[in-house]
Structures are given as structure tokens and as C-alpha cells.
């Protein structure tokens, strides 16, 4: 199996797609090869400054822990544990998180062993090797191993509260299908979806996959932002939290960490959408398929 990089510099860095392409070999995708870490760090571009947030070992410690903690479990179970803790450790703004090169570096320079452990498919019946999809190393935010966890934590957290993130990440279908939809950029919508799972209204992957497209399609004619208004986001809370990284302790391993002290989504807004989505879902089930686009 692909192992922990031998050379780990002090600080996180950026790696472009072109640079990454050289290192994403078939051997790596099949989990047989390591990433040549010294050569990789020669081409990567280290991040400037001496922010504590960008110390590499903070992330690597977390990876070492998660690999050990979940070694006897299904790798998918690690998502719900890692997502909030990765988010709390990195403390990025969305502007910073939109930098794909950072995620590519995390996957190749910091934790290729984790990417392989988490995303290697089972070997096929015909004896061919299992494989990691390339987009787990370099891919869109809803596919790339670490971007996907970070964005799940960012979009499903309720201010400082990461509990909804844990619920969302516990269901792979929710994580995979909701993350690529624009509707969850509206926080009460994201939280309402989580609540439907918590209450057992939607349980199976099939049900989740029936609900999320229905919610998305309805947003073409209904404005959730008006039906269920969120509070205005205060950027200062996030900035304070990012500054606090200098003096922060390592993210807690057993308890959930806490995110920035932003105001939570209004309860009545979330509940209103829960009721609305329940109806949509019942409708989708009655028809035995997802609703047509117009409703």
C-alpha cells in the first residue's frame, strides 16, 4: 500500500494540476506506489507567511490519528470524524478554500496514503487491481478527498456547531449528491436536509437520491432564501476564529471541535423548509420517481 511520505516539510504548499499530473501514476492509483516526496516538494510552491494554520504537521497528525482510529472499520466511516476536525484545523476562508492547488498538495504531498486507504476500490472479480479515481487527488470540490470533507463541514455546519456535519457525512449519498448542488449554499436548506435524515424521514441512499434532486428542481421556481431567510453573515466572527489559530490547541480527538462563533441559522427558517421538503419527498415517493422539473 502507498505509504506515508518520507519527506514532510514544515509548511503546507500549493501544487498545480500540471505539476501533479507527473506524480499521479497508475501505480499510485492502484495503491502500489509511493509519491516521491522530495521531488514533489521541489516543484510545489510553499505558502508564504508563518501562520500556525498552515503548519503541515497539524494536518498530518490528524491523518495519522484517523488512520489508526479507523484501521479496522470501513474507510467511509472516517469521513464524519475527519470533516469537522480538518475544517477546524485548517481554519480557511472560502476564498482560500477555493484554491484547488492547496487540496492537490494535501492529497499528494501530505497524505497520499490516506487518499489510497479511503478511496481504493475493491479488486474486481476478474483479478484486476482496485483503483483510486483520479479525481480523488485532483478533482472538483465534491470529489477531491480533502476538499470534499472541508466543504461538507463548511456548508453543513450551523455556526460553531459541527453536529449537522457529522450527520451529513455519515450518509455517503448525502455527501456525494448534496455537495454538488447549488441549493445547499443556502444554509437553512442544508440544515433542513440534515434534519430529515436525523428524524428518519429519509434513511436509505435511494431515498436521499430521491430527495435532493427534488429539492434542487423546486428551487428553480421557489426562492428558499425568501421562504426561509437566513441571518446576514458576520465576517468578523470568522476572522477572529482564524486569528485564534495561533493559540489554539490541537483539534479534540474525542469531542467535536467548535467552529467560528457565527450566528446560527434561524430555527423557524430551518423548520419551515423541513416541512416543505417533507411534502416534496412524499410527492416524489408517491410517483415512484423524482418530481418533474416544474414542481
Amino acid at each position: 500500500m502507498t505509504s506515508r511520505p518520507e519527506h514532510l516539510p514544515e509548511r503546507l504548499a500549493l501544487l498545480s494540476d500540471v505539476q501533479a499530473a507527473e506524480y499521479i501514476s497508475t501505480g499510485l492509483l492502484e495503491g502500489r506506489d509511493d509519491v516521491p516526496s522530495i521531488a514533489l516538494n521541489k516543484v510545489a510552491e510553499p505558502l508564504p507567511g508563518d501562520d500556525a494554520r498552515l503548519q503541515l504537521h497539524r494536518v498530518r497528525d490528524l491523518i495519522d490519528h484517523v488512520l489508526d482510529r479507523f484501521r479496522d472499520e470501513r474507510p467511509t466511516a472516517a469521513d464524519a470524524w475527519l470533516a469537522p476536525r480538518l475544517h477546524e484545523t485548517l481554519r480557511l476562508t472560502r476564498r482560500e478554500a477555493a484554491e484547488k492547488r492547496l487540496w492537490t498538495y494535501l492529497a499528494l504531498g501530505v497524505a497520499p496514503d490516506y487518499v489510497v486507504w479511503r478511496h481504493l476500490s475493491e479488486p474486481r472479480a476478474d483479478g484486476s487491481h482496485g483503483r483510486v479515481a483520479r479525481d480523488r487527488f485532483v478533482g472538483p470540490h465534491y470529489k477531491q478527498t480533502f476538499a470534499r470533507l472541508w466543504w461538507a463541514a463548511e456548508l453543513f455546519r450551523d455556526g460553531p456547531d459541527y453536529r449537522p456535519v457529522v450527520v451529513a457525512c455519515a450518509n455517503q449519498d448525502m455527501l456525494n449528491s448534496a455537495l454538488r448542488l447549488d441549493v445547499i449554499d443556502h444554509r437553512p436548506t442544508a440544515l433542513a436536509l440534515v434534519r430529515l435524515m436525523e428524524r428518519g424521514v429519509v434513511r436509505t441512499g435511494r431515498e436521499v437520491n430521491g430527495l435532493t434532486p427534488a429539492v434542487n428542481a423546486a428551487a428553480a421556481t421557489l426562492m428558499y432564501d425568501v421562504l426561509a431567510p437566513d441571518v446576514e453573515r458576520d465576517g468578523q466572527a470568522l476572522r477572529d476564529w482564524i486569528e485564534g489559530a495561533e493559540s489554539s490547541l490541537p483539534t479534540p480527538r474525542n469531542n467535536l471541535p467548535e467552529g467560528p462563533e457565527e450566528e446560527r441559522a434561524p430555527e423557524e427558517a430551518v423548520e419551515r423548509l423541513v416541512g416543505h421538503f417533507e411534502e416534496l419527498f412524499a410527492d416524489a415517493q408517491v410517483r415512484g420517481r423524482t418530481p418533474v422539473e416544474s414542481e
Binding site: T221, L222, V226
Partner: protein, 330 residues
């Protein structure tokens, strides 16, 4: 065209940005110079700000909605106008309600705030008119046709973007450039915007493309530029088509960034006579190995050369050389 199961406005909804106020640390304030936004281009260029450390930008907006149609048709109640600022790359969406200047008036005004930490490149700004229709609240009954673009880094309010050209030494530059040390230029499509990197080690190249030399040099320079441009178009097309998101039913989607713009621009030349959606599907199928990908190459070259104006540059060069010849023989 989409069909809606409820009545919508037929009149146009428009919006314009009327002022931009920036705020920075320590409550510093700045009013963005009016050349920082363009009503014609519908672009705000926040990179024009005097101070580089601004944190938030407040955009003052005026939307015009067909008030008379709302009144005469009478299908709608609880009418409101909502501005939405959104960016795909940062999954950020900010919403603000506008208020009518006068009861039943056409102009609605308000402000929307952009927090710099939440946006990386270009946010789109749209206004939607929302109302209760047939007992259902929150229906979108009209939206602006063209969105405004709020560019957080650009210093000129232009919709079309200029290609970035940077001059670097390939031999002494970043490690990955060293393997291209003999190349005059390469097109780097990995970033948020494609970039041409000119090799400063290639003697005379920079002067040539900047056309600072003699008549002969400028003739050649124009040709080189056209050739470089064609390389860029070919490279960006291949990058865009190679990185498509595919729906579950196999339908390829247009990317939201420059990749999508490139495809929409070039596909009509590559698969003529078809809608861009059909053309995208066709090209994607061929590239995925069902159908001939090789047959498509001349069309891609043609589309790239056309955009780079290679034929025009070449014709001009031939003419200029003739003229230079005549001058030397005269």
C-alpha cells in the same frame, strides 16, 4: 424554453449598481471611483480600489421591475425584489431584499454586501422578483436577463477577460518549466485563468512579440503572436473538453468558468449547424472513444486558427514581405 406552471411577468427586470462603498480594518472607508464600474458592461471592478486591504464592499442597487404589469394583471401578491450575489468557486450566496422607492413604483433600491473572504474571483449579481401565486409563497416570477459581474480583483470593468501573458526564464524558473527550456512559450491551462508563459531565455523572442524592432521584426512578430494565440485556443479547448462534469444520464455539462466560455465559443465551428448542447455531447462522445476523435482534429485546428486570426496575420505578412521586397529592389 422552460415552462412554468404559474403566471410570470413578461416585462423586463433590470438592475444597475449605483455606488460601491468599501470598508477595511479600523473602519476605514472608501467610495469606489465611478470608473470602477460600468453600466454598459455590467461589471464592477473592485481591484480598482485605492486601498488594497478592504474587507467588505457594499453595492448600492436600483432594480427596475414592470410595476404596471403587476398591477394590471393582478396574479401576484406579496411582491418583493431580491438581489442575489453568488459565486460557484466559493459556494457563496448572499441575498438582500430591495424596497420600492414609492408604493407601486418601478424602482426598487437596496444594498448588498460582499465579504472579501467569501469570494475569490467573479461573483454574479442578479435580481429576482418573488411573489405569492395561487396560494404558493416564494415563487420566482421574473429575473434579470443579464447578470452583473462583480470582479474582486480586476481593475477595469470589462466582461471579456484578457489573456494573461507572463515572461519567465524557463531554465531558472519553477522546476516543472525546466523540462520545457527549449520551447519559446507554453500555454498553462491549470490555473483559474489560462496563462501564456513566454520563455525569456529564448533570445529576441520578447522583443519580437512586443514588436519593438524593425519592420521585418514586426511582420514576424505578428505571425508569432497569431501562432501563439492559436496554440492557446487549441490548448484551452482540449483542457475544457477533457475535464467535463457528466450527469448521471451521460449528459456532459458546460463548466461554469472560462472552460465553459471557450466551449460555447468554439463548438459552433467544430460541429457546425447544431446547438451548443448537442455539439458538446457529440464532441464528448467522440473523445470518449465512440466515434472518431481523429476526424475532429482539423475542425479544432480550424476553430482555433480562426479565433487567433492566423489567416489574416498570414495574409498581411505575405503582403508586407512583398512590399519590403519592392522597397529593397527599388
Amino acid at each position: 424554453m422552460r415552462v412554468y406552471p404559474y403566471p410570470r411577468l413578461t416585462g423586463a427586470v433590470t438592475v444597475r449598481v449605483t455606488a460601491v462603498r468599501l470598508r477595511g480594518p479600523g473602519d476605514t472607508r472608501e467610495q469606489l471611483d465611478s470608473r470602477g464600474y460600468s453600466v454598459i458592461e455590467q461589471v464592477v471592478a473592485l481591484g480598482r480600489a485605492e486601498r488594497d486591504d478592504w474587507q467588505t464592499a457594499r453595492l448600492a442597487l436600483t432594480a427596475t421591475i414592470p410595476a404596471r404589469e403587476i398591477e394590471t394583471k393582478g396574479h401576484w401578491s406579496d411582491v418583493m425584489a431580491v438581489a442575489v450575489l453568488a459565486e460557484g468557486a466559493t459556494n457563496t450566496r448572499t441575498v438582500a431584499r430591495l424596497e420600492p422607492d414609492a408604493a407601486g413604483g418601478r424602482d426598487w433600491t437596496g444594498e448588498i454586501e460582499l465579504d472579501r473572504d467569501n469570494y475569490v474571483d467573479r461573483a454574479s449579481l442578479a435580481v429576482h422578483v418573488v411573489a405569492t401565486v395561487g396560494g404558493i409563497a416564494g415563487r420566482i416570477i421574473a429575473s434579470t436577463d443579464q447578470e452583473w459581474l462583480i470582479d474582486v480583483t480586476a481593475d477595469a470593468p470589462l466582461r471579456d477577460r484578457q489573456l494573461e501573458v507572463s515572461t519567465v526564464s524557463f531554465a531558472r524558473g519553477a522546476e516543472w518549466l525546466r523540462s520545457f527550456r527549449d520551447a519559446p512559450w507554453i500555454v498553462d491551462t491549470a490555473g483559474r485563468m489560462p496563462t501564456v508563459r513566454l520563455n525569456s531565455d529564448f533570445e529576441g523572442l520578447v522583443a519580437l512579440v512586443e514588436s519593438q524592432g524593425s519592420k521585418v521584426e514586426s511582420v514576424v512578430g505578428e505571425m508569432v503572436l497569431a501562432q501563439m494565440c492559436a496554440d492557446v485556443w487549441t490548448a484551452v479547448f482540449h483542457t475544457a473538453i477533457g475535464d467535463l462534469e457528466i450527469e448521471d444520464d451521460g449528459t456532459p455539462l458546460f463548466p461554469s468558468d472560462w472552460r465553459g466560455a471557450v466551449l460555447r465559443e468554439m463548438l459552433p465551428d467544430i460541429v457546425p449547424g447544431r446547438s451548443v448542447e448537442d455539439a458538446l455531447r457529440e464532441v464528448h462522445i467522440r473523445r470518449a472513444g465512440q466515434g472518431s476523435w481523429a476526424d475532429l482534429q482539423p475542425r479544432i485546428q480550424y476553430a482555433a486558427a480562426r479565433r487567433a486570426e492566423v489567416p489574416k496575420a498570414l495574409a498581411a505578412a505575405v503582403r508586407d514581405i512583398e512590399r519590403l521586397d519592392q522597397e529593397t529592389h527599388a
